[in-house]
């Protein structure tokens, strides 16, 4: 096997797709995670987004429900 065989691309959505999804579903139906730093979050974030800076995510995965669709930005 070559190195690229170990990786799969991660699905992504455009901002428009995210907007449509958030408009259609109630906030209890999904996880919306802001993985930037607190300072960036304070300057503005998506409505209802939960702040988990990327550096902390590996240790804080349990705060999110793995069965809900999850959007990260």
């Amino acid at each position: 096997m070559g190195i690229s065989d170990y990786f799969k691309p991660v699905p992504s959505w455009s901002a428009e797709e995210v907007r449509t999804f958030l408009n259609e579903k109630g906030p209890e139906k999904y996880n919306l995670v802001d993985v930037r730093q607190p300072k960036e979050y304070e300057q503005g974030h998506l409505p209802g987004a939960q702040l988990i800076p990327l550096g902390e995510l590996a240790n804080r995965v349990k705060e999110l429900d793995p069965n809900k669709p999850t959007i990260a930005y």
Binding site: G2, V10, P11, S12, V18, V35, G55, P66, N67, A72
Partner: protein, 204 residues
């Protein structure tokens, strides 16, 4: 940006989340601003059914990619603090590679195998990748024109993936000596992550 969101999506997918998306272009795209692209390939995740020895080989190759990335950044950068940090990171990755080689020797029970990791994973110079799976040449091309803040965002993404992978290996690997090695490696990646994030905070 979206580079951190892809690293996040990779971590969540690997943690067993059923449906994960990263938002293209990040907050800029959301606010209707033009979002610049980040290196396309990569920010993906380890396939699950991999043998321990193979995992060591893969980890070694990814450390090698990150080491080259940091070495190059340290010569590109004009910010003295950044130069010092990238040099430190590059040396740390080299040390990690040595730890992986000695663990491979212990686990395989073979004397030093100069073929490692070629005996496990095919090496292709045009397909050199860094931790998190991003192509080295694409990342370097991208970094040439970027400000330190964006380069730090990408570095935070690399280290987050590395940290996550080593945490998982620590849990997954049975032999005690392997657990110990991955515990050290994950603790070091965590420390790099803290150094990089606090540097990024300063540049925001």
């Amino acid at each position: 940006m979206g580079v951190r969101s892809r690293a996040a999506a990779a971590i969540l997918s690997e943690a067993g989340f059923k449906e994960v998306y990263s938002m293209k272009g990040g907050i800029n795209a959301w606010e209707g601003k033009v979002a610049e692209g980040v290196p396309e390939a990569g920010m993906a995740y380890f396939s699950s059914a991999v043998q321990p020895e193979e995992l060591l080989g893969l980890a070694w190759l990814l450390e090698d990619g990150s080491r080259k990335f940091y070495t190059e950044l340290s010569s590109l950068s004009k910010d003295m603090e950044a130069v010092a940090l990238f040099q430190e990171l590059s040396k740390a990755e080299e040390k990690h590679q040595a730890s992986l080689v000695s663990l491979y020797k212990e686990l395989s029970g073979r004397p030093f195998d100069s073929e490692f990791p070629k005996n496990l994973i095919r090496e292709d110079p045009s397909d050199e990748r860094m931790e998190g799976g991003m192509l080295l040449r694409e990342a370097l091309q991208w970094a040439e024109k970027k400000a330190i803040k964006e380069i730090l965002e990408l570095s935070v993404s690399l280290e987050s993936n590395a940290y996550d992978v080593y945490l998982k290996m620590e849990r997954k690997m049975e032999p005690e000596n392997a657990k110990k090695v991955f515990k050290v490696l994950s603790a070091e990646e965590k420390q790099h992550l803290e150094q990089l994030t606090s540097f990024l905070e300063k540049k925001l």
